[in-house]
Amino acid sequence: MTPTEPDDTTLARRFAEWREEESVRTPAFERVVAAPRRSRAGAWQRPTLVFAAMTVVAIAIVRGRAPSTAGAVPEIAFTAGTLRVPTDFLLDQVASVRAGEVPTIGSVDWYPLPVDDAPTTIAPRRRN
């Protein structure tokens, strides 16, 4: 042990000083038994309420910023008669073929034979 090192007695004395200083600050026994300061003040309830209020406000802000969908008209409506798809022109051509009409090759309105006249079987190609 070097001369500058406090021995056990010195340590004990320093702790005793600390104890003496603390004893002045010790709350009264009866007070602690009755209720601690924190509980008396109900302090634990207030931050909980603050937290709840902050949560409600945050939710309100988030919901306020989000675009509302109430009353908005959807851009795509599947209403009978108005639905248009890219292959609709095929249906139009079928409808445009009339009985007795002979389509000309190269015509825009050309359409193959009616379905009823189409061959039911297709002869397989023969390979040489």
């Binding site: 603390e22 002045v24 602690v32 038994v33 931050p47």
Partner: protein
């Protein structure tokens, strides 16, 4: 079975109050408000019979163990209750307790001792506090901390050596 009648229990608690509060402050890492609450809960446990003294050790040793366990329980509970927010509230509230008024008056040697103690391991702090501050034997301190006496002695010797070294480093006035 209660070893002591209720009125004796209260007297015993009153007798150990000062040391019990200091130990509670230590278990609460210096938070005096929290220590007060922990001590209140510990007193309630004893007086309501939820913690029973069975005379396996001295009353003081047993009660210090109760305080330590209560502090651990309270810390877990407090974490669930958003302690940080609570502390923030209290800090902003500017609520100054009477105890703080004495803070400026304390000897410079005491903060130095506390600071040096704070640099030790948790176990070393606990054992030195119990032995030097509370004047418990190493055996009793080991009982409070629920550890074998050999382990307690090791923590005590190492902690004491380190504390001496740290205090020797402090500048002399």
């Amino acid at each position: 079975m209660l070893a002591l009648p209720a009125f004796d229990l209260r007297d015993e608690l009153h007798r150990t109050h000062s040391g019990a509060f200091a130990w509670a402050v230590h278990c609460c890492r210096g938070d005096r408000d929290e220590a007060e609450e922990v001590l209140h809960v510990a007193y309630a446990k004893v007086l309501e019979g939820r913690a029973r003294f069975e005379e396996r050790s001295t009353f003081r040793t047993w009660f210090f163990g109760v305080i330590r366990l209560t502090a651990h329980e309270q810390r877990r509970w407090r974490w669930l209750q958003f302690t940080r927010l609570e502390r923030w509230w209290q800090d902003t509230e500017g609520e100054r307790d009477d105890d703080d008024r004495h803070a400026h008056a304390e000897d410079e040697r005491i903060p130095a001792l506390r600071a040096a103690l704070g640099r030790l391991s948790r176990r070393q702090q606990e054992i030195l506090h119990l032995v030097f501050y509370e004047s418990l034997t190493i055996q009793d301190a080991a009982n409070v901390l629920a550890m074998p006496v050999g382990t307690a002695r090791t923590h005590y010797e190492r902690g004491k050596a380190r504390l001496r070294a740290l205090l020797a480093e402090e500048p002399t006035p």
